[in-house]
Symmetry: D3
Subunit: 312 residues, 6 copies
């Protein structure tokens, strides 16, 4: 290039020679590349019961990675050498939710078949994406255990509205893809669920922790206990983080916000604990609707959650 | 009631004895009732190409009717005696756009079959609702002519995404439900369409008026000319107002905003002219997304447009 | 009705057969009806010292009840069978605060005289509504004890501005309607009050707990202690929740926000503890100004507070 | 002062030696001072029918004067030598609207009695301030003629709500302080008034111009005609600018916004024409609610309106 | 790639086979490439007198190109074949404005030296970028004529604050790089300038058109006249569009907004007229601050302005 | 004055005779005056790496002082007798950061030379102001110890961008104005710094406490320990509060927000503890950008922080 300052096609934000932004460690996937973490966007939110723009979250969360660095001050470790391979976003169908679910499933499975990465980050989208995603992991890895941070059970019936964002775990369990006892729900909130679905959870032996349980037992011991239990029963563990498990003051950008939820610190430390186990292979982060957010706070929290997962 | 001031179930906003709000003239439909205007909500926007919350517009537009009165100062006429029968909103399906389109069609048709009203106001939703709605009018009334205020042709192909909000007039014409020459498009904007679709319009003899045409000919003469022409060729006329025909400064709450569009005054006076013809039986108002609006300006403009149609 | 999908006059939001929204348990009061909880709106905020739109809160809080269900996950109890009778909103006078206060008092008293409910929820408006409301309870029930969550004492002099939202408890005590020792104030904040009014509280033996007291003693023991004490001294207890007791991060929609206040969890658990006592008959929730709020967070918190009171 | 850069008590915004901001020509009134224009704030909006924060407008409009200079490019005239004397804001009473109206009246009258200025700018507050203000001018100057820019007649009955912001001209006419024929209303909007009040205007010979009249006759000829007529009939003329005469796209910060109103240019040029007449002694600018505005656009327009009045 | 749907590194927005977005015609510059239009970002706004984030505009304007297509409906021409070469953004210095101005100048000059394009679009940044940019064109092309759309003269003295965004044309004229008579200013607003600077314009024979001139003469005849005149006197013409020439209702995202400016249509049609002349080689678009904008309206208007320039 | 209510030049907000607002205790500095606390504004933010409007914070923080009173309820102490002398804001240079830094340094030093106050509050601006400010204190008082609340080390190299807001403590240490061991950093956050700068801190013996350290040790013991240590080593202590040490939920108005930070309570109680020591003479509060804030929450927190410092 014959230019003194210009550098066409490259970003021109200020560069401090000693700082590596997380975004700088993300590389577009090409055949043959290997990396620690695979990243995929699942920009689907038309299956949401309430109108949602969560499909835009992969953009804002990736952008948030430009604001954070690879250095973990608390442990004095730098992760600038870790490669994140970005498989891009699955193109969704404008009018067919069924077609979209199929595309999500095929895309996650094909990503896994590349066997390019050790672990995976999946960015929703609404919670409906977890069904095709976990299904893909089940095909590839075998028995899956799931830790779900959520204010809601997400085991609604399918008759009233089809495969909405309120049904992914019902679909997985009823479809025999996930055992009830291999599902752990953390942060279930009062006045946000129905008795019939709590009964379903009990009947299927889903391990449910309400916010009262979290306050009484502490989120860290609780997560440690369940990780240890699951580790003996499953081939891999999958973390499914519905951001509405977090209090509205800390995650204002979720479609279904409310008071009395987790703090940011409780989410981040519990994900950190869980991610340390080597059988934890994947995390999805869902229900972030950037159009409802303030200053992208919820996307920033999602990015931090990613780092807590990746930098174990 | 034993209460001095309380009146359970009734609104308690300030009441001036001499003022009738438009909302006060709206009555819930019951079998056997008759009224000049029928009102129906078509809260469907999952067929939008871009993420849209236009499905919430029937709520905000109805609310705007609480802010306006029945008195038309310019003509010194009071319409407080006109009854608007509200048929409610069509319940949509959370995950199946096909099912939603069917419900919209059946609901509009069943409303017409009641033969309770002379004219109809249909509140979208995105522009996708015009296909099932016009189809219903065609079944009931015969040959339909359509005046479409829009920045876009909305005659996209169906292969790339199914029946989105970019396809209603393509579906009508290709389905033989509407003759191309019976469709008039007003306010088509530069850099907002594709040559292939302009060619489609030409081939089908759709009468297209760009913003340049509006500026040169004036919107009132243009509308008068087309109304007169259509009146001789069709059994009824239907006005389809995509609010994005209006400039972004005047209708900031549309999903696809841009500069260089109609002013509010141009929209309102042209709808007034068109609505005067007795063959004009219906209007739909679409593509108002309250989540993107400022102070419900676009819903207020939609309400004014309703009054220009109703109070002819 | 001859309609397949339409249902005029009924809401068309998505319905899951197993979920009961709190709003679905609210029924418009008619003579002769009985219910556990009576609900009334007191949309008065012109008495506020600073300009306030808190009068709009009964609308937004009632709307928030549409987002929450009757199922309390932490205790596995469903309250779908509890009837809430809605007495509507008291119409206020546009220009006379005195007339408005009279209407509020008469309306609350007339509601109580119906003897239709066991307990009552009163939605402000500003804190000025507590004076006419508590006065009505005092007439009906006898000696009243009050727990007030508030950053402020609200015992200002009346000479400087009349009966503003800063004076309700002064008016009650000076008027002999409430004994100072029967008033408990929780969450009084630094830099938000005056020495003269703290002195007034001391002199009248009001039990004052600052935020430092809350941090040191814990809000639950503190509330339990005072409830136990009051139970022996009064005929009924009334909870008065000024939402500005809560930190600005958790209740951003109050007119007088600031840092260093209660968390949402502290408010909710302390109201839950207090509401368990059978002598607690009423709660008012005041100082929520929806025009200043973000995503109706403060109205959502108010709704949760209602449920903590109702579902004891 | 011993400081090189600091200048305690003085603003530190950037100063270009050749630019005089309008705010720099505003001087706090002290006894004995003389100036061309007197400025007073009337921060009253508790008499508004809908909840309003228009009482804050004197602050934001004065602030807007810091953004504009004294130089009128179109006429090549500099008004940096014109002194504006600021009499401050009238303190309002928190809970008594009657007391507030009395204070406004007394304050405007006392300002006039100082005989310090030739002309006056009065900043509302809501339109209720025009009654006590015009009453004061009538006492001081004799027969008053009023040009009112407004979407509304503001001649409501007083029985339904007392002296609200919807009644000032009714109070003036019924009180014999203003002849109906000396009142000119410009910009009256459809669907924003009641037949009974239009009838009242006709009966009292108020000269009413609807938006249709403005479009057909042009606002400048219309204003010139009425100014000429009134000049022969009255001792002084008073301009009363309710900013909601302007379209919602141009004045988004009014409590009662809607489409189909005046553009900013139409307001500014018509005020300029009117202000040229030497009998025009005063202007009030009302119904700007900064809490509803965007980027203080409506306050900026109010400031421009002030300059069009002052710099004749 | 072994993927059915995924396409790493590529955007996944909905693609209609017949629509070409303007953004799709933009190609990153590489040595040897040729294209009709060169595009460069000049993200500098630290020289602004008031705090400005206009440096972010190149991002939002480029993004807006994704929302508009290459088809010009009014002339039935498709510009999908026109290549826009993107030279990227000039990296600015965080703390040295002088260094930033040098980098801007060098970068524009080096772009021109590539001789890869016929015409150029430069995206600010604040108006300070026009000085180094026009200087570069003067070096490359010889005598330059400038049409400046602006509410302000921008010929401030340099003593009071250095090379701010209020000084670019002063610097050019005093530096002998631009003759006063070769500068045309359109849209100069009342109360937005100083007499001393108007005098400077007169003395230097700058052709100044105020908003009154625009209203009286019409913007199209005015621009045509000046283009014709300049064409005989200069080697090339440069359009400098300060977006604050446009009214605050149409361009709400400028740092210095106010009423009484151009409409969007007036801006767009006048740029179209000017751009038709073959000597018009460049346009800069400045003073768009995305942080102050609403729904990126001002960036969308900037994008339309680009198309009016490019698609002549 | 001949006025009954008017009081030109004085504020007209509601006045309760028993309440003293903090703003009422602030007096413009004049030579010879003495006061407990000196207040100065340092409105500089052009040195920020990211675009910042933190220069506007002195205005919004001073305004927040109008909302808070002098009474500290928790300790039952009234500080209405404490005089705060306001030295005003340092005028900054529009285009030269070097000149601005010089002005800041001279101004702080000249304020100290007045010897009018015992302690000082400095309001930024970005963190770049701490370098010239601490330099001034070092000149006046001798050896300085600094407690820095911050998510970031702020010891970046100066080669990549000059004296930005990321460099103040590097400049102080490298310039020999501050010993590394006299600097304590509290609240350092993960993924927000670089290894090279952590290494710099270690090498220079800066005492660094990450958020993990805060959670484990508790912020109060930690601060007490360091205050005690420093008291023996330095002549004075200076508190530097970068508001981004606080979590995004509690301080949403900082340029660089993120989750996992301090709560408001943690900030306020730790500043209170530190301020009690008599060697603590000054506090700066920086990185509050009002344009990014919500309801001035962050400015309100800054004001509370001031009071915690002043009212020791
Ligand atoms: Ca979920
Ligand atoms: Ca959930
Ligand atoms: Ca359309
Ligand atoms: Ca359209
Ligand atoms: Ca209170
Ligand atoms: Ca309070
Ligand atoms: Ca009015
Ligand atoms: Ca009005
Ligand atoms: Ca300029
Ligand atoms: Ca300008
Ligand atoms: Ca810092
Ligand atoms: Ca920092």
């Amino acid at each position: 290039m014959p230019f003194t300052y210009l550098n066409p096609g490259k970003p021109t934000t200020f560069k401090d020679r000693h700082v590596t932004k997380v975004a700088e460690t993300v590389r577009t996937y090409e055949e043959g590349l290997k990396g620690e973490v695979g990243l995929i966007g699942l920009p689907s939110s038309k299956s949401s019961i309430s109108l949602s723009m969560a499909a835009n979250a992969p953009i804002t969360i990736r952008t948030a990675l430009q604001s954070f660095s690879t250095y973990e001050a608390s442990t004095r470790r730098d992760f600038k050498g870790m490669t994140v391979l970005d498989f891009g976003d699955t193109p969704i169908h404008p009018t067919s939710v069924e077609e979209t679910l199929e595309r999500l499933h095929v895309s996650v499975l094909e990503m896994l078949e590349e066997e390019a990465c050790e672990r995976y980050v999946l960015l929703g989208g609404d919670h409906g994406v977890s069904y095709p995603a976990i299904h893909a992991f089940q095909k590839k890895y075998g028995t899956v255990g799931v830790l779900q941070w959520d204010a809601h059970h997400d085991v609604r019936n399918l008759e009233d509205g089809g495969r909405t964002n309120g049904t992914p775990f019902r679909s997985l369990i009823d479809g025999g893809l996930l055992a009830g006892s291999h599902l752990v729900q953390i942060g279930i909130r009062d006045y946000s669920n129905a008795k019939a679905y709590d009964d379903y959870c009990q009947k299927n032996n889903i391990h449910v922790y309400t916010m009262d349980d979290v306050e009484e037992q502490g989120i860290i011991p609780l997560v440690q206990k369940e990780i240890t239990r699951l580790a003996e029963q499953v081939d891999m563990m999958y973390l499914s983080v519905d951001m509405d498990a977090v209090d509205q003051a800390h995650a204002p950008g979720c479609p279904a916000i409310g008071p009395g939820g987790l703090t940011s610190r409780e989410l981040l430390t519990s994900v950190r604990i869980a991610a340390k186990h080597h059988k934890v292979k994947a995390i999805d982060i869902v229900e972030v609707d950037p159009s409802k957010d303030m200053r992208d706070m919820t996307s920033r929290l999602a990015a931090h959650t990613m780092m807590r997962f990746m930098y174990r």
